[in-house]
Every structure is written in C-alpha cells, then in structure tokens.
C-alpha cells in the first residue's frame, strides 16, 4: 500500500512505470496481445493473398449452391437438389442427435456403474470395475469400429431377417420398428399430456407447501406420474385410438415402411455412451465418496430414513463435486462424435466438412464452419451446465 503512495508522489517516468509490478504486468500483457493479433493477422492476410494469386476466391457463397449428394439419415426433409447449407444443417442435426442420445445413455450408465462400484456386493462392484477399466483404456475410435463391425457382421441381411416380435426386425441395415403415425385428433393427446405435466408441477408445489406447514407428506410423485401418464391415455382411448401403425415389410432389397435405426448410428451411440459412461462412473464414485461419512451418521442420528438420507443429504452434496467434471465429459462426448466419419455416419464433419468440402474444394471455409459450430455447441453445453451447477453449488449464507 505504502509503495504505491510513494510512486504517486514521484514524477512518472518510463523507468518508474517499469519498476511498478502492476504497470509492468499490464504493459507486457498489452504487448503479448498485440503480438498475437499481428501473428493472426499475418496468417490471414498471407493465406488470402496466396489464394488470391492462385485465383481462388474465399467466401461462403458456395453454401447456397446445390449440394447434389444424398444423405441416408435426415431429420429434416432433404434432397440432393438442396443447398450445401441445408446439407450442413442435416449433418448438424445428426451430430446433435447422436450427442444428445449419447449424453442421456452415458449419464445413465455412468450413474449406475458409479453407484454399483460402491456396492457391498463383491461380484457387482468388481464387474463395474472391469467395465470402467476396460472401456476407458481403449481408444474410442477402436470401440466405434468394433461396434460397427459387430453389428454389420453379426446381424442378418434384410432378406434373411425374421421378425423378433411383430413388426420388429434386427438386420445389419438397421433395426426396423413399427412407426406410429398420428391420425386426425391426435393433437388432443399432446394437449392432455401438457395438462398432466402442468397439474403435476402445481401439485408438487402444493404438496411442498403442505409439508412445510403441517409436516405431512403427500404422495406427490405418484399422483403426478398418474396424471402425466393417465390423462393422455384416457384421452387417447376416449378419441377411439387415433393412431395408425406403419409396419416395416420386405420389398425388393430392403424393408419399406416403419421406422429405422441405422447401424452407423447405433454403433456410434453405443460406443460413445459406453466409453463416456466409464468416465462418468468414476466421477460419480468420487463425488459420493467425497461426502463425509459423518453426514450420513448425523442424518441417521436425527432419525432420517436411509433412502431419504441418500436423496436429501448425500446426493445434493455429491452433485457439487460431480457436476463440473461431468460438463467436461459431455463436451468430450459431443466432440468425439466427430469420429462418426470412420463408419460413415453422416454428421457435420462428414457433410460440410467432408463431401461438400470435396465437391467445392473450399477447405478453409468448410473447416472454419465445422470448427465454429463445434465451438458453439460446446459453449452452449457448458453454459447450460454452469447454470445447473450454480443451482446445486454450495450456497454461502
């Protein structure tokens, strides 16, 4: 403190600025930032200049040209005459689909394995240990290739496939399932579902209030669940089942009709979920173990029943430790989904960063888009998880 006061009294010279730790740090940082900006500037201007000399123009105008290739898994309507931009969008949705499904299943696997690893049952906890150690120590690319190999080699071709149950066929071109097709009036079922959910939320609030005031516990979960499931079912029956089912049937080379889960998607989904699940299992185990045993004992001493102890005492504290590394795992899973290209799953990298890149030769622009989109997805996932993290974090009073 006194040091700065002495400085203020003196006339400011370059030497005195340099001797001051804070100013010196600031000056160095400014120079570092300028240096980095100059470096990036040189790279960009050199690139543009060199491409210019070769007569290559840089720009994103190619995105509006027709893509001219087909994609086998499209969540939105897509045709080969659509633009490269739409092809990229199809790829992005495929990336998000596999990342989303992967995150859900990896979380289920991870929490199950993590809790079971702490189980007193010798067989169970050893089994989980084997799962964790084996899967997280094998590169995920190999696991993807392995699953793909297993699926396409072990399942029969469509012509030899037999129905598992009516309308369900497991083939090496995908799992074919009956597809429900909503008929007129089905919208009411969605509305009933919405009403059920709203009712459940309000009932839970009411139950909490009752518990606060009287200490009485209402079976809020059961009543809520009944409302969410029961209302739509009743509406559905009352309307006379406005749903038709399209069953897959073998026609020519392939099954037609129904709903298909492609083997490339399954392989990628399984591999990513199982691989990331192993990491999550370790995070969950560490989280639970980080809660001091004294907490459990204290809860028991207060007469709280064991499952409430877990739900209300241990897990909320464990989540504080679990969430931050869990975010990293979700990000890893999303980024690892770009390995899809190895088995021909048409994700973002395979569409705009693969075929489009090849057709148009716009490597810088295409890769730029891919990098930008992954960055954006990752930042969104982090942001969402950080919001959740804030909610479960230790509240300092």
């Amino acid at each position: 403190m006194s040091g700065t006061q002495v400085q203020e009294n003196k006339t400011v010279t370059l030497g005195s600025l340099w001797r001051d730790k804070k100013t010196r740090g600031m000056i160095l940082q400014i120079f570092a930032v300028i240096g980095i900006l100059i470096f990036i500037g040189i790279i960009i201007s050199n690139t543009v200049e060199n491409l210019d000399r070769l007569g290559v123009k840089v720009g994103f105008d190619f995105l509006s040209e027709p893509a001219n290739y087909d994609i086998n898994q499209t969540l939105i309507s897509y045709d080969s005459s659509d633009s490269h931009f739409r092809a990229a969008l199809v790829g992005l949705l495929n990336t998000l689909l596999v990342a989303g499904c992967g995150i859900v299943v990896a979380t289920i696997f991870g929490f199950t394995a993590g809790v079971l690893r702490l189980s007193n049952n010798f067989v169970l906890n050893r089994l989980m240990q084997v799962y964790v150690e084996v899967t997280r120590n094998i590169p995920v690319l190999l696991q993807i290739l392995l699953w793909h190999g297993i699926i396409i080699n072990s399942l029969p071709v469509p012509k030899k496939a037999e129905a598992l149950v009516e309308g369900v066929f497991m083939t090496n071109r995908g799992v074919f399932l009956p597809q429900p097709i909503p008929q007129e009036g089905f919208g009411w079922v969605w509305i009933a579902l919405l009403v059920g959910i709203v009712f459940a939320v309000f009932f839970k609030r009411y139950a909490n209030k009752v518990q606060m005031q009287t200490g009485k516990l209402l079976p809020a979960i059961w009543i809520g669940a009944t409302a969410i499931i029961g209302l739509p079912v009743l509406t559905f029956l009352a309307l006379g089942s406005p749903l038709e089912v399209s069953y897959p049937a073998l026609k020519g080379f392939n099954f037609k009709g129904g709903f298909v889960v492609k083997p490339e998607f399954m392989a990628l989904w399984f591999a990513l979920s199982i691989y990331t699940g192993a990491f999550i299992a370790e995070i969950v185990r560490a989280g639970i173990q980080s809660v001091s045993h004294g907490q459990t004992e204290a809860a028991h001493a207060l007469g709280i029943r064991p499952n409430f102890t877990m739900r209300l005492v241990v897990i909320p504290q464990a989540l504080r430790v679990i969430i931050p590394p869990l975010i990293s795992q979700y990000l890893n899973l999303t980024k690892n989904s770009s390995l899809a290209i190895a088995i021909g799953y048409m994700d973002l990298v395979a569409t705009i960063g693969g075929i489009s890149l090849n057709q148009t030769g716009r490597a810088l622009e295409s890769m730029g888009i891919v990098l930008g989109v992954y960055l954006f997805i990752s930042i969104v996932i982090s942001a969402l998880m950080n919001v959740y993290n804030k909610r479960v974090a230790l509240v300092s009073r």
């Binding site: 690139t47 070769l54 007569g55 080969s80 392939n254 770009s338 190895a342 490597a363 810088l364 990098l371």
Partner: protein, 338 residues
C-alpha cells in the same frame, strides 16, 4: 486428426512459403520430383512387396521425373487422401498430383489448378454379388449402395437415381478397405465407384468370380495429372510427358526398340521424338534433347505402362477400351510431336 489436416496443411504452408512460379527450376535444384499419389490403389499407385511404388499414376510421376531430371527413379512419392490432395498441391508441397483425380469444370476453374491431360478414361460403375441376380443398374431401385466418399461418385449416384426415378440408401464409406468390409458383410447390396477401382477391389476378394460389374457406366471420369495455375512451362512439361508416351505407342516405339528406331535416319518422326536428329523439341520445353528418350527408355510407352499395371495379365484384367489409341478405336489421342 485427419479432419484437421487440410487446415493445418494450408496454414502451415501458406504462412511459410511463397508459391514459386519456377517449378522446373525448383525440381532440378532439389534433384527430386515430389509427386502426390493415392494412399494405395491396386494398379494405379501402390507399393509392391519391396516397398517400391508401382502403377499407372506412378508411371506418370516417373515419366515427368525422367523428362525433367533424366532419371525416373528420382521421385519422392507423397501418398495423399482424396480430401487433402488439392490443398497439398496448392500449397506447393508437391510438384504434380497424379492420383486418379477426375477432371471436372469446378475443379479446373475454382481451385487454382490445371489438369494436364487424361492418363486414364474411367467411368462410374456398379458391382453386385452374382447371387443377387441383378443384370442392369435399372433394377437397383431401393437398394443400399456403398459409395466411396470424397469423390465425384456421390454426385453421379444421386444424379443417376434421381434421373431414373429410383430411390436408394447411400452408405458412405471413407476408404476402400472399409467399403469392402461393408459390401462383404451385406451392409450394402451394391458397391459403386470408378469401374477401374471396382476391378481393383474385386481382384482382392476371396472369390472374384462371385461378383459382377453391371454394364451401365453412369459417368465420365477422365482421370489425369494436376498442376498449379500460373506455371505454364511446368504445365507443358507434365502434359507432354504423358503425350510422349502416347505418341511413342502410336509410332510403335517402346523401351526395347528405341535405340534402333532413333538410329534410323529414314524415320524422322521417331528421331525427332527421341532427340537423335537436329530438332530442338526438348529445348522448347526447357528440357534437354533426350527428354522423351528418357521417358520411353525408363518408363516405356503408354501401352507398356498400361499392360504392366492394369492390363489383361494383371489382377485388374482391364481392357484398353476407351483407353486404346484413337487408331485402335479408343480415344487416347495426343497432338503430334513435331
């Protein structure tokens, strides 16, 4: 990571160097030709048991090296995936790209590159297991089709099926080995890529006779060497190295009889090509008199190269077909070397 390679390559190369216009001087100073080839495609570019590169595309590299350096062995082969090939060429890391690359309008005009001729006229075909009983591509409605990505193949398939009002399930595959695995496992009914590559793929199947290539050829795939824009002399050298092999075949000059033909004073065409009279053809290219002599002596004429790599006696068993000389019903036609 494979997908980052194009960017890394372009950034690294573009920051460091200036693409020089004098490719010939660079090659001669370096004493070795850097030639981009496939990562391994039987008959076109693949290392043999001794690790030496062989194939039709490789022969083109050797011909250019023979012309520019006088020694067909002075080639450094750079195996490239279809994805990075243009970036690597643009950045100046290789001098010529000879990698079953289809000459298209877009590639010629938007990438800053030039196609220096066609060393193999190909077309996209379909291969199916014989057991399927399919005899024409028109019967493929609803089929699952393995398509090697990163080529013009996807576009042709999409166009062909759309035009014929048929549907199909594209199964994109990244490498030929992955394509084989999918096709053999029955993940797809049909395998489509350039007909020459289908022949190459079939030759390594356990039972090649159990698969047929359908008669329809659905696209034009002129495959040829590629160079950078802006160096016309180098462009000419690559173009005429290939033409010299064609002209040699047309004149009946091969690696065995060239000394005899070159000594014959009554054979001015052969003497001009081989540089044994007073003509100064080599000089016009900035090369020495023996440029074509060296190509034919060390690599052979086009027919020798074709038969050695992809012809009847090889595993690929390809006909000359379109690649026969124009005098034999094909379309391989070189302007006169005069």
């Amino acid at each position: 990571m494979k997908k980052l390679l194009p960017i890394a390559v372009s950034l690294a190369a573009l920051t460091a160097m200036n693409v020089s216009a004098g490719t010939l001087e660079d090659v001669q100073k370096r004493g070795v030709l850097k030639c981009g080839v496939s990562t391994g495609l039987a008959g076109f570019a693949t290392p043999n048991d001794a690790g030496k590169w062989e194939g039709l595309d490789v022969d083109l590299c050797r011909a250019v090296a023979a012309a520019a350096l006088g020694d067909a062995e002075k080639v450094e082969y750079v195996p490239l995936t279809s994805k990075v090939r243009f970036e690597v060429l643009k950045s100046g890391e290789i001098d010529v790209l000879s990698r079953v690359t289809t000459w298209t309008f877009t590639r010629d005009n938007s990438l800053g590159l030039n196609f220096a001729g066609v060393n193999y006229y190909d077309g996209q075909g379909f291969m199916v297991p014989k057991a399927l009983g399919v005899t024409s591509a028109k019967e493929l409605d609803g089929a699952s089709i393995c398509i090697q990505t990163g080529t013009t193949t996807e576009l042709n398939a999409a166009e062909y099926f759309k035009l014929n009002g048929m549907t199909y399930e594209p199964v994109p595959v990244e490498t030929s080995s992955e394509g084989r695995a999918n096709y053999i496992a029955g993940r797809c009914d049909v395998y489509t890529t350039d007909a020459s590559a289908l022949a190459a793929q079939r030759s390594v199947f356990e039972d090649p006779t159990a698969h047929v290539v359908l008669p329809e050829i659905i696209s034009k795939e002129p495959l040829g060497p590629v160079v950078r824009h802006g160096d016309d002399q180098w462009f000419d050298i690559v173009k005429w190295s290939h033409n010299a092999m064609l002209v040699a075949e047309e004149l009946g000059i091969d690696s065995k009889n060239l000394d005899e033909r070159g000594a014959n004073a009554n054979d001015p065409a052969a003497q001009g090509l081989l540089g044994t009279n007073t003509s100064k053809l080599g000089e016009m290219l900035g090369l020495d008199k023996k440029w074509a002599y060296n190509i034919i002596k060390q690599v052979g004429n086009y027919s020798e190269s074709f038969e050695r790599n992809v012809g009847k006696d090889t595993a690929l068993k390809l006909d000359r077909g379109l690649n026969a000389l124009w005098t034999n019903g094909g379309i391989q036609y070189a302007p006169p070397i005069k």
